[in-house]
Symmetry: C2
């Protein structure tokens, strides 16, 4: 697959386009807003377009990296092609393409993309799925060749589970750091002081399951400390402290 059309100009599209630049020919970059299309297209040497009807029909692959609910509409507005259509969503089933295109699939990077930080995709785990065994193999080979060595075939249900688990493992864990930073900053303490502890907590995951390595007042059932902590909190922070401590104790009791 040499000639690629990138549909989208957000965080995922930008990371993918930069990773593919120089390895494939990026023919076009599509965005609803021409200035966004042009910004990414200029950076990767492609033609910017702001109309799905203007997409070329002879690309090898069309990578759809847009909001979940915009995928079907863009496919429908595009001219018919024989190329391979791929979306990158964790939540949308592959069947969104069924009846719309003949060869299609999913290229899902298990990663969280921020506007402010470009991700090195060679370290990212990609989960792929295709409309036939041959297409699945083609997508996997494409991902291995141009993006990352970590490529695994996963069906739409497994991909949904991965996406849900990533919300807990990444979005929610990150929110815990936000709350820790809030608590510290109210007392003039810099969040940086917490980084060595966070890193050693992650390091333990290479040796122990997260459940095995759980520590802290809730895991110990230390009610005096939990009461003292709760007296220092209010609002969301207090409610979250209560609920997560209870959940840790429930988890411990079930083991």
């Amino acid at each position: 697959m040499k000639r690629i059309v990138m549909i989208g100009s957000g965080n995922v599209a930008t990371s993918l386009a930069h990773a593919l630049r120089g390895r494939c020919q990026l023919v076009q970059v599509y965005s609803r807003r021409m200035e966004h299309a042009r910004q990414l297209a200029d950076a990767v040497g492609a033609e910017p377009v702001d109309s799905a009807a203007a997409l070329v029909t002879d690309a090898d692959a069309y990578v759809v990296a847009v909001a979940d609910d915009a995928i079907a509409g863009i496919v429908d507005a595009s001219p018919p092609t024989d190329g391979l259509w791929l979306h990158t969503s964790g939540s949308v089933p592959m069947s969104v393409f069924a009846g719309r295109r003949s060869r299609y699939g999913v290229l899902y990077p298990l990663q969280s993309f921020s506007r402010d930080l470009l991700v090195d995709l060679s370290r990212v785990h990609f989960f792929v799925e295709g409309s036939s065994a041959a297409v699945t193999a083609q997508i996997a080979a494409f991902a291995r060749c141009f993006l990352s060595e970590k490529v695994t075939v996963a069906d739409s249900r497994q991909r949904c589970i991965l996406h849900l688990a990533a919300v807990f493992a990444c979005n929610f864990a990150n929110h815990m750091w936000t709350l820790a930073a809030d608590v510290m900053s109210r007392d003039g303490l810099p969040f940086d002081a917490m980084l060595p502890l966070i890193e050693s907590t992650v390091e333990k995951l290479h040796h122990l399951s997260p459940s095995q390595s759980q520590t802290g007042p809730a895991a110990r059932g230390d009610e005096a400390v939990m009461r003292r902590h709760l007296s220092m909190l209010h609002g969301d922070e207090e409610a979250i402290y209560r609920m997560l401590s209870q959940s840790i104790m429930n988890h411990k009791a079930r083991k």
Copy 2:
């Protein structure tokens, strides 16, 4: 400070005793249960004791690394000494020693200690506090010399805040990984596949604040994905997903 008595035989006492072994003389290890005292004492070349009354009176420092509510009782049961008394708790104010001993303080490692994994203390941040400026300086010098280069003076209130923040940053984040592992294992997916994503999420903390780097359906306000995720959850997991998503949205709205 050369002659040290270690009071306690749990995770913190064990890590500290191993770090100090060969650098100080570990005179005694105390535990309520002689077999526990003996196990650690044998490993670090000290005398095991199971009675506070049997503690030597000529040590330079007495490090009390026991459960929070056992600290005062052990001090009271020990013979009077001129040595420096230190506890290692995140939650107990230094004043627990007031009226009980003349020179005292706190040596708090901002770290989570697991039974199954010995911690390299040279990478740990220690927060110290003393009963006078001279004692504070003495504790800081002791920690820098024998334990870690990262030593900061913090009063009892700041230490409480650090401990509370660490519960969010470490215990609660770890519980998010436990829940992610549960979700994945129900579908036969190995938790290891999530590690690169977790590590890159932590890496971002070196460049952006956790609030700046927050991503995911709640941060985007993507209600369709949140509804789909909630339909795959129940019990604690569902309640936590709901509460944390709401808290992420509240946080976003306040910014």
